[in-house]
Amino acid sequence: MTQIAAIAVLIILGGVIASLVSGSIPAFKAFGFDFITTETWNPVTDKFGALASISGTITTSIIAMVIAVPIGIGVAIFLTELCPPVLRRPLGIAIELLAGIPSIIYGIWGLFVLAPFLQQYIEPALIGTFANIPGLSSVFAGPPYGIGTFTAGFVLAIMVLPFITSISRDVFETVPPVLKEAAYGVGSTTWEVVWNVVIPYTRVGVIGGVMLGLGRALGETMAVTFVIGNAHRISASILAPGTTISATIANEFTEAVGDLYTSSLIALGLILFVITFVVLAFARLMLMRIESKKGV
């Protein structure tokens, strides 16, 4: 009985993969490998390429990670090493609770609060500052929409921040106190303890946690759909509207006309699943390693 249920979990995953593969066959038949390498997304001529969505997914996730990883780890260090003991528990609990807030909340906040703020104050300044610097001028090219790749990346960063923080904090706490005490005993500063003892000891776990956060960011739909701008273009400017795989599916799936269009969207879903699967599998293996360490 219980074994049957356990196998059902396997069947669910198998079902997901099978349905995605069968749904995306027409698209891959029609476009072959070009589907992944072309940017055209043209319902008029029934020509579809996933590159704009894939690159948008990866770009927003990278922006999110660049912002969230240092800050997340910083907050975790703060919580384990610096925080007054009175605050430690409530702050830790607060962070964990925030990790559970539905992404649509981040989306609605990004749309109504963050985007107008960026459009009015931040983006014009960025565009103006870098206008005359070759290279950077195209990275920060206007017009200031307030909505675009950077905004989506920023919202994602705030969304995965609690996630990365709480996992990092958990693995930091697996460091045997005796190691830290020994380091303090020979006169190390707090930072030296963190840098030379805690981080090397927990490196694998932290990377695993970051990868989990990355997996979340790659597959995130709602927080991104609100603020990405839904444009099937690859732009050099990170302020320009773009799209991600999940935003494309959420926006276009119910209205895709024609089998090839629908199939292309399902193929996008399959690509997303493969990308996240690889990232998550990698993260899980990392975390399993640290768990086996803990179990000894």
């Binding site: 074994q3 995605l20 069968s22 780890i73 607060a94 995130e220 997303l272 998550l280």
Partner: protein, 278 residues
Amino acid sequence: MSLYAGRRRSNSIAMTLCFAAAIFGLGFLALILGTLVWRGVAGLNLAVFTEMTPPPGNEGGLLNAIAGSLVMTIIGVAIGTPLGMLAGTYMAEYGRFSKLAMVIRFINDILLSAPSIVIGLFIYELLVVRMGHFSAIAGIVALAVIVVPVVVRTTEDMLNLVPTPLREAASALGMPRSHVIRRVCYKAARAGLITGVLLAIARVSGETAPLLFTSLNNQFWSSDLNAPMASLPVVIFQFALSPYQDWQQLAWTGALLITFAVLTLSIGARWLAGKTVR
């Protein structure tokens, strides 16, 4: 002593940076919650809970969306929970170190963080296309699929906390294995198992992506599981992206309700987990 001063300086720089990160990170999260409460409370009134979603420019509330969310979440969790608990029990009690359990544990962790929109696509292919129309049933199944890995994980973790001597003692009294699990282990881990269910409810109550193309949406009260049904997240999505002030207000209020529900559930789950066997 200059070496020492340098070390002191780099220490204080690093620590200041960490402190700044904490302020920045926590500040932003506080800002989001603050905005949510500020904008959400403005629209809180009795009508929200007693009126249907209005056409643009009319007065209305979120009753059908709240009800739809409740119905789909409860039934989805009711379907997903037994399956998840059984699977979790297998992994903790029967196949703890078997190859199969290892593989399933891994797959389950993948499913736990798989993009929920992909689950939506899967259910669309599986149910919506076959049935020929959007329906609450499809939404419920999609939510159930999301519930399963959450429950599997917590069940397994909680049963692992039950001390082995308890099981051995019960077996020594001549209880069959299934009895041991039912009478002893479940009892010992009861609070933890309920925690898992609460976490699962919290997880699915805010899910939007899988509902977009399974249960769609419904302007009105519908109690037919075989027809499209409104749900709070989908309504928030629709209303927030509209130009109408009153719809945007309802979206904020809905967002506040969901957040409040999720936080309540999570806090409840933590409190229960704290009471479980240590």
